[in-house]
């Protein structure tokens, strides 16, 4: 891990640019200590629960959660970023200062290397913002609204309360009675259990959607108080979130030819042939009602909710994005390196190709192509390629499926020649 980070720094320094440092052991240790101190507060709280059974179950679930989070810390997923760490802290300070009654001093923002575009509150006063989310933001106000929304989840104690609720639910006498009744049935047991199970899951999801509205409301207030002239960025951000997962760029056959037809290796059309087309994938989900399963209301509903409740006028003060964009200048490189760090070599290579297409002279991307191909070749030699390269799926964009097919369809000697080319 250290070597990777150093290599990246070497490149980055050469271009005098911002870096992410995944090898900062000091930061990791301090964060782990901080997390321990925060979790001990929650544990004290859990230990105050009167019901012994609930308390015990809650502690088990909570320990599972904290162990998983500590693993992320130790893995180096949370990083300090030369620009964004400061930016997020400035936003937090501003929100805090503008909302003195809310007492937000205990809140800390963590930046995460991730392949997802997401932000979440994990309790313990911690807000996690995935770096790719920041890369997708157009200005600091959008980022500020996301942070305000997550702060609200923390202020409203949603994580703790949800865990508590689920523990009560799982241990309720009523549910136990109903479950035992079903268990005693000789026939149609599964249908009866499925019916009740679905009802519980749907109710929980409905509750979850309500919590999102609550966080949107408080988040809006925190945000408006901090940025009174930019209140409409609340709805603007939600509008952006609707499409944030969609990749605007794609690789064409010509791009694949450009990247993979090297000196001795002739590009073959059959490399790109996907097997998805031979199946008629069933579209309607049979068991679950997908709408009822959503944890979040859809973005249009959230926008309407905010607009109706807060009479938001969609008129934004003009924003100077030059400084924000300057901070994002290395985001493409950071993104593909982040994926490489997470050992998502297939994704890292795919996005490297996309970024390299946009910026063909950038040597860093050529190096990332090489490094990812080396990792993929090693995995292939060890029969573990599938751990690092996804399989084609009907839900993936066509060009990504083609990319996945191509990497797998390359013969050993072809892959070697391509690697040699990028060496």
């Amino acid at each position: 891990m250290l070597i990777l980070a150093l290599f990246f720094m070497e490149f980055s320094f050469a271009q005098n640019s911002t870096v992410i440092d995944t090898s900062n052991v000091d930061y990791r240790e301090k964060l782990a200590q901080y997390y321990d101190s925060q979790t001990s507060k929650t544990e004290t709280r859990i230990n105050e629960i009167e019901d012994k059974k609930i308390r015990k179950q809650f502690l088990i679930n909570y320990t599972d959660k904290t162990v998983a989070f500590k693993e992320l810390i130790n893995k180096g997923v949370f990083v300090e970023h030369n620009s964004f760490t400061n930016l997020c802290n400035e936003i937090l300070t501003k929100i805090n200062a503008s909302n003195p009654t809310q007492k937000l001093e205990d809140i800390k923002i963590l930046l995460a290397v991730s392949d997802e575009v997401n932000a979440y509150n994990c309790g313990e006063g911690l807000i996690v913002v995935d770096l790719p989310l920041i890369y997708k933001m157009d200005n600091e106000y959008e980022l500020a609204y996301v942070i305000a929304h997550e702060i609200s989840h923390q202020k409203l104690d949603h994580v703790y309360q949800s865990m508590m609720k689920h523990n009560w639910q799982n241990n309720s006498e009523e549910l136990k009675k109903k479950t035992d009744e079903i268990d005693q049935q000789k026939y149609n047991k599964s249908s009866l259990a499925s019916g009740l199970f679905k009802k519980i899951v749907y109710t929980n999801r409905e509750e979850s959607r309500k919590l999102e509205h609550q966080a949107d409301s408080l988040g809006y207030i925190l945000f408006r108080n901090a940025y009174p002239d930019y209140e409409s960025y609340s709805v603007e951000t939600l509008r952006k979130l609707k499409w944030i997962d969609e990749e605007k760029e794609a690789l064409t056959k010509e791009d694949f030819l450009h990247f993979f037809e090297v000196s001795n290796t002739k590009f073959k059309d059959e490399w790109l042939v996907s097997e998805i087309a031979i199946y008629n994938y069933q579209k309607n989900a049979k068991f679950w009602n997908i709408d009822s399963l959503r944890t979040h209301p859809d973005c249009d509903t959230r926008i309407s909710f905010l607009k109706e409740n807060f009479k938001i006028q969609e008129k934004n003060k003009s924003v100077d994005v030059a400084n924000f964009n300057l901070q994002k200048i290395n985001s493409d490189k950071e993104f593909v390196f982040g994926l490489y760090f997470l050992e998502e070599y297939g994704k890292s290579l795919y996005y490297t190709l996309l970024k390299s297409k946009k910026n063909p002279k950038e040597e860093f991307f050529k190096k990332m192509i090489y490094d990812n191909l080396i990792k993929l070749r090693d995995a292939r030699n060890n029969y573990t390629l599938n751990k690092y390269l996804e399989n084609e799926k009907p839900k993936f964009p066509e060009d990504y499926n083609q990319f996945l097919c191509l990497i797998r369809n390359l013969r050993k000697n072809e892959l070697t020649q391509i690697i040699e080319f990028y060496k």
Partner: protein, 539 residues
Amino acid sequence: MKKISLLIALFFCTTFFGQVTKLSALSSSKFLDSKILYEEDNENIYGYLLLFEKDKVNANESLFELVLLDKNLNKVGSTSFAQEVYNSWLIKLSSSIYFAKKNKDNLFIAIGQSNPMVESLIDRMIEDKGTSAFRVLNLKDFTISQNYFIKDYKFQLQTEKLDMQHPSKVMKEMQNMRFTKLTTNGGFIVSDLDYKSSMNESIAAFYPGAAKMKVNRQKEFYYFDSDFQQKWVYKINQEEKSKSFYKYNYFVNNRNDLVFIKKFYKKENDNIPDLSFDVVDVATGAKKFEISMANTAYSYVFENLQFLDNKIIVFASVYDFNDKGEYRYDKKRGYVKQVYDRQTGKQLSEDFLKWDAFAGKLDIDEDGKIKDYGFIHFLEFRCDKDGKTIVVAEGYKPNANTKILDLFTFVLDEKMKLLGFNKIDKFKNQIDNIFAYGSSLENMGTFDYMYSQNLPGGGYVFYYSDNEKVGYKSKKDPKWILGVITYVDGVFDFQKVPLTTKNGQIYPIKAKNGYILLKEVSNDDNNKDSEIRLEKINY
């Protein structure tokens, strides 16, 4: 055709979220069975079919779910249906997929009940099992039909539920139902024998040593197209009083040719019936020609038949006759390759590979015995378009406790001349209390060689297990290894994939051409998570 046995059942029950664990468990479907689905060519994998029991509706009816996965393990779709089941405290039966075959936009699927032990034995013995009832799953919309039964040589949709509370009535009704096997082109061969007799005949056809059951002589079989329309009838054994008779079994279908294994019994208890193959025109039912294994100089024991462009190629072991006119397992002279014109049936060539071809490589005598070693048995024949044949063989030492030895690969030219030779060292398994020779050991599934596939873009891959077999004289903690041999552009490459991990075990499962499924299972009782990976063969 030999059954290519899977090492383990493929998949297991789906799981739901963990909040309400018991309820989730109660609502989960129970995994019953899985089958690999092949394309119409019987070579390429189309996907995987999983069978679940969703619920027990009543004592004699269950609600089943079929889930189809594509060759990359994505879910394509699912469908549910209720079907009668037989319930008894006396005998434990389990529902399974008897067969599943794809034909264009349909899957023909037979779901039945059997004793799992018996079923797994039959599974090992014959790949293309027949059925007397099947459903049709539409691959476009995932609707599934009621069961089709074949009564009075007509395909009839089930209209009434079977009376499972009175099994004798059902059995009686079953006697009127005919047995069918699906051909590769989506047609149906329907026999005039009942289900049980037909199954027994199928096993006996491929395994000479299988227990014989006296059955009525088969007089005819019918051919129906994929729309269930009768096309022709093939008559056999029409002379009632004749002592001699024939037994026919569907063997393979390629393009317009149907091939039947035909055995001629000179008398009722003929231990060595004459073996031949009838090649029949699928459109008309007319016999095109016959390929006979009879030979006056040697005894030919059939090993393999394959189509290559406009030729039919047959491989057989060559034995000397003994005094009784029977062949001796320990006196194998080598192998013969016969090539026939596919249109006329004319024999174009007959070439031998005798053991002296291995002089300088093996200290082998004319009976095939290698000094201080044992014998070699050929397990795979892959005929290339350039005339070469790639052979995979395995060494063995017949003894009171027979030993399975090394793996061999040979390349033979068009005339069976040895061009290439490789000996691959692997784990030597010992089979206690079994004294047997090549064919018998192959039928018992004791060899370590698994199967072969075409590689996309040309070439072949061969798989074998290189570890101690479970259930034999096994150590406590054997290291499992999957042997992978590729033959691409005339060059062999030998790889060994470790199947024992730090925390558990990896089970190899047959996958689409050029790939292997690896199911990784943890030994940790507290964390039994497993993952299935589709891994590319490294060639």
